[in-house]
């Protein structure tokens, strides 16, 4: 099956739920890559909320192609509780916006991260801008 381009997906499209593990080694690599010295100082059980968001973006890029020339325009994020390295989580990705204004397409993707029992632990919304006519 061909991976769809994100701009081909309609508003309301839900990707299959994504179970993932906030792997301890991956969190360490992430913290090193972003040079975050503050989070490790809080203890080994601390993970920044952006780590889970980045993990979900990674999964999104496996499930859909980003139109060529896309840029990240905006980001919203809300944490309901702390995330912990090693934790098993389930992510949901939903297309909540796909519209064209002038020569630009505005894509909006909502991310919801839940604990296996269903408790919502984090949600986020990314707004992506891509030039119309590219990567189609």
């Amino acid at each position: 099956m061909t991976t769809p381009s994100l701009d081909e997906l309609p508003v309301g499209y839900r990707f299959p739920k994504v179970p993932f593990r906030l792997d301890v080694e991956w969190v360490r690599d992430y913290l090193e890559a972003v040079e975050d010295k503050a989070t490790p100082s809080l203890g080994k059980d601390a993970a920044p909320p952006l780590a889970a968001l980045v993990m979900m973006v990674r999964r999104l890029l496996e499930l859909a192609r980003l139109p060529e020339g896309s840029v990240h325009l905006g980001q919203e994020l809300q944490c309901h509780r702390a995330l912990h390295p090693g934790e098993e989580l389930i992510g949901e990705l939903i297309i909540t916006g796909n519209s064209v204004r002038q020569s630009w397409r505005f894509l909006q993707v909502d991310v919801v991260v839940r604990a296996p029992q269903g408790e919502e632990v984090m949600k986020a919304r990314a707004t992506i801008l891509s030039p119309v006519g590219q990567g189609q």
């Binding site: 972003v34 980001q75 809300q78």
Partner: protein, 135 residues
């Protein structure tokens, strides 16, 4: 006691292509706009740019320094990416507490480059840790 006007700790980082490549590897976002100077030179950006979420992580670090676990446990953030950060840029993340009400601190947050240009602008909300006090 956290009060309006209090600055958030400044977090300053200097970007280079190696750091951007490292982040691309960890995040799985290998968009050539970030990692391929030859490709990126042919785009309107004229060269590679850092991932928005890499630069945003510097802001998250500032909020962690300011609020500790409270940021991780119940923080809220809404930002716009206004301009790209490029290899060689020195960027500073931080902001200011704008309002404190009923234990909730509202902050104006930003990331600026060495020229003072705003790369990220937005707002954050954090429930203030009791040990830091609120009123």
């Amino acid at each position: 006691m956290i009060e309006p006007g209090e600055p958030l700790p400044a977090v300053t980082k200097t970007l280079d292509q190696g750091k951007i490549n490292r982040y691309a590897e960890v995040s799985g976002d290998g968009n050539p706009l970030h990692t391929d100077p030859e490709f990126a030179s042919r785009t309107p950006f004229g060269g590679t740019i850092a991932h928005g979420l890499l630069v945003l992580a510097y802001l998250s670090e500032s909020l962690t320094l300011a609020f500790g676990r409270a940021w991780l446990e119940g923080g809220k953030l809404k930002v716009r990416f206004r301009a790209p950060a490029r290899p060689g840029d020195t960027v500073t993340a931080g902001g200011t507490v704008t309002e404190v009400r009923e234990g909730l601190a509202r902050c104006q947050v930003e990331v600026r480059n060495q020229k003072g240009e705003a790369l990220i602008l937005g707002e954050a909300e954090v429930l203030i840790p009791l040990e830091r006090g609120y009123g």
